[in-house]
Symmetry: C2
Amino acid sequence: MPSLDRTSPIPLYHQLKQALMARLKQGEFRPDRPMPTETELMRTYRVSRITVRQAMQALEQDGLIYRVPGRGTFAKEPKISRRLTRLSSFSQDMQERNVRVASRLLDFRQEPANGAVAEKLDLAPESPVWFIRRLRLADGGPVAVNLSYVRLPRGQSITVAELETAGSLWALLEEKEAQPVEADQTLEAIAAQPELAKLLDLPVGAPILLVEGVVYTRWGVPVEYFQVFNRGDRYKFVLHRTR
Amino acid sequence: MPSLDRTSPIPLYHQLKQALMARLKQGEFRPDRPMPTETELMRTYRVSRITVRQAMQALEQDGLIYRVPGRGTFAKEPKISRRLTRLSSFSQDMQERNVRVASRLLDFRQEPANGAVAEKLDLAPESPVWFIRRLRLADGGPVAVNLSYVRLPRGQSITVAELETAGSLWALLEEKEAQPVEADQTLEAIAAQPELAKLLDLPVGAPILLVEGVVYTRWGVPVEYFQVFNRGDRYKFVLHRTR
DNA sequence: AAGTGGTCTAGACCACCTC
DNA sequence: AGGTGGTCTAGACCACTTG
């Protein structure tokens, strides 16, 4: 019944993955119960085994199913955390957690990159970069301060208006032909300094989860260097790791 | 010249991946310079294209290369962080960072699981679990306190001696037919409580990076629930994320 | 026009598990 | 014995980039 669209530009294995995710979400496959076998899926969706396996591999990667040689494929207990393995922005993150969020723009300007930033973005020192500083609010209260240094393809530029209409920085970057697909990041616990404490409405010295990193496009070009100072008491970083 | 062993039980694509990783490590392929094409690799290693692609996909996943349709495959700037995407234990982690580490066993006993632990490990409350508490030292100073609650397959058991000879808990778990392959974990910043502060040689209220999670076997069975309290000033969590 | 990676097919053998 | 997922082959078409 749920046939795939062979005229669509979307790969078959991706359509199949989406279809199976929908069925998983609906609870059609119970946790730890066998899912349809690869052969069955080949028949019902009329695709080759390799295509089925590409879809299943993606689902396993996302932690939605597990496979046991000789036995079969099984659905996993649904968990919110599972989907967060992927690279996701603050807006996406919060949306998935069903939190009402807002952003207050504190700074927005083009400026010459200092040494550290230039190195992270693989630029010559003093090259122009966009600097964006935002206060993140969830359910009305401050949760984080976000610093972004953005490097755009030559000739491209961004405006405050664009950032606001796009909804998120990453959505905007996609439009600018600089879609982020991977990131190196570090997480550490630090104590809040006075300025930060004031912005986040915390006592000086309160624990802060600092997430810092560089985001790359598909071609390995760095587009953004960011620092996010999260209130320790209001933010948890969720992660699903596979071998 | 670097032929693959077809009699080996190790999959060809994995052998090929290892071979290419070795060549990358040696610096044979310069960053952002084209690597051999898939067709070339098919010829030189005498394998099919799918096998080549399986190997390349794994390398891309690990962040060692990137591929551009229509152009080719390219080596990436080598980074230490890249390899830490994988699931790794404290011992592995530190070894890769070239830090001399030691572990002091604080507690080791079998005890009935309380409600929270039982739920994480998917056990009935009061089921017996092993409780291990360790102080982690790097270069002589304390860096973390590690709490592990371990669930073993029926009939299996562990001893202090085994833990010490195996070197790490995970190495031991592999022997016990409970190899960890994936984990759900959360990271947050908290303030050090008095007992913890004393163990880690910190003032009360100092920032701590708490990493907490459940580790699963290949079959989706939880084996370990852990809490690691890391000194904020001596520990950074490094991560490479892909879309 | 030629070459690249992205996708897809049909078919095959294997180790392993269940019956 | 039959079914499962894991691996591997040979071949094909496509969109895209490069000369």
